[in-house]
Symmetry: C2
Subunit: 248 residues, 2 copies
Amino acid sequence: MSDMEYSIGEVAKIAGVSVRTLHHYDEKGLVVPQRSATGYRHYDSAAIDMLQQVLFFRELGFPLADIGEILAQPDFDRIGVLRRQREYLVGKSARLSQLIDTIDRAIEETQGERTMSADEKLKGFDQGPHAAEAKERWGDTEAYAHSQKRLSGYSKEDVEAAKQEAEDIAARFGELMRSGASSDSPQAVQLAEAHRLHIDRWWYPCSKQMHANLGDLYVQDQRFTDYWDKHEPGLARFVSEAITANAA
Amino acid sequence: MSDMEYSIGEVAKIAGVSVRTLHHYDEKGLVVPQRSATGYRHYDSAAIDMLQQVLFFRELGFPLADIGEILAQPDFDRIGVLRRQREYLVGKSARLSQLIDTIDRAIEETQGERTMSADEKLKGFDQGPHAAEAKERWGDTEAYAHSQKRLSGYSKEDVEAAKQEAEDIAARFGELMRSGASSDSPQAVQLAEAHRLHIDRWWYPCSKQMHANLGDLYVQDQRFTDYWDKHEPGLARFVSEAITANAA
DNA sequence: GCTTGACCCTCACGTTACGTGAGGCCGTAC
DNA sequence: GTACGGCCTCACGTAACGTGAGGGTCAAGC
């Protein structure tokens, strides 16, 4: 088992990325190499492995922030992630094959051998697996429901009422937490149920199981955590635990 | 032959890009649709074709400015460009296959079934065909020779002398052009030869044929044209013609 | 004709992911 | 000690949009 160390210039050259890129990834906390006494970066095999993961996800179009979250998961499972990346790369390869078909058809069209619709010409340039994963990940949330224009059938009053109700619930969760009540107290559980009903009513059908999944997401995904914690620091965890208690 | 027109939202949806992106491409002059009396954008089949070309090149990693240049060539050859894009897409597809192989090997490594070097882990993330084309395109130029550190064996004085000589030649070309001499006059031809010898001496072996190719590039590629024209507007063409005369 | 809602426009600030250059330190060979 | 390639941090700038504001347009329904 070789445990060589590489300078930043060596890594940059091998990987075909710039030194600046590696600096950036260090700053962002994505790939943080060891440092010499003089401040030089030294990349050992762990750092190389991490860089590989980052570059795979980058290749697949994931924003660096998302890459960071995925790789920072407490239950980080390297082999599971590699499998996932493989799946996406295979999908991307298939999409490329489609694009090649599209070009072949475009060449035939240019030669007068066929006609193409706008659809045929422009299909295949959709976003990559990051968008697909976002859909999967957000599929059970109000954020995605928003983007699906679930609210298009509501009046402005309805929209306002729905938003107000969401804010009320969040505020009451905040109060409850500040009052020192535990996250599995009857009041917390009641509030969690109110939250579930709110989602069920305004956004989409929401079973207790789905609600529990959602609660997990609130503490696993920074964007959700931020949403709750802006009301009160630590609220995301509190709400998540209340939801779990409600679902039990 | 259907000649439908699409609104910007329709095109965005079909192509999987944002309206903002299409605005941006309009601003940049890449895909400029017709406009209604009220200012709405209408995309006809010509605009759709242009967008397709842009999206193919974007897919391949070309910067928009370069895409604009390629598609703005006076001798724009749609079918030639499509063939070129196909070639690059096939190459990209092959590179993806390599990455999939790399993941498979990484999975085996994780399971203790094999060992990988840093090289193996990080290979394949090189830049796409844009970088390859840049290499091709710039391969015969001093700009690329620079990046190849051709000068690494020279002293600072040598580097300065080389630069000074280049500036002298450019200045003399400028004077000659301002004096009204024709680009195929003996003086111009002499200067072109001096330029070729300069390249031959300082940068890389430069035959008259290669020099002629370079001269073509000076008027075909905006970056070269800019280099010469900053000395004197129109100088790139003058130099190119002098080089052609010298190579005859 | 009026209302409504989806879609369009321009404007402009902001974000993401680096690119680039300045100024200076470090490591190695001569 | 000198020279040169490589390293560091700092910081401004770029490319390619994302996002929101404020308001006009279009088409369907009443």
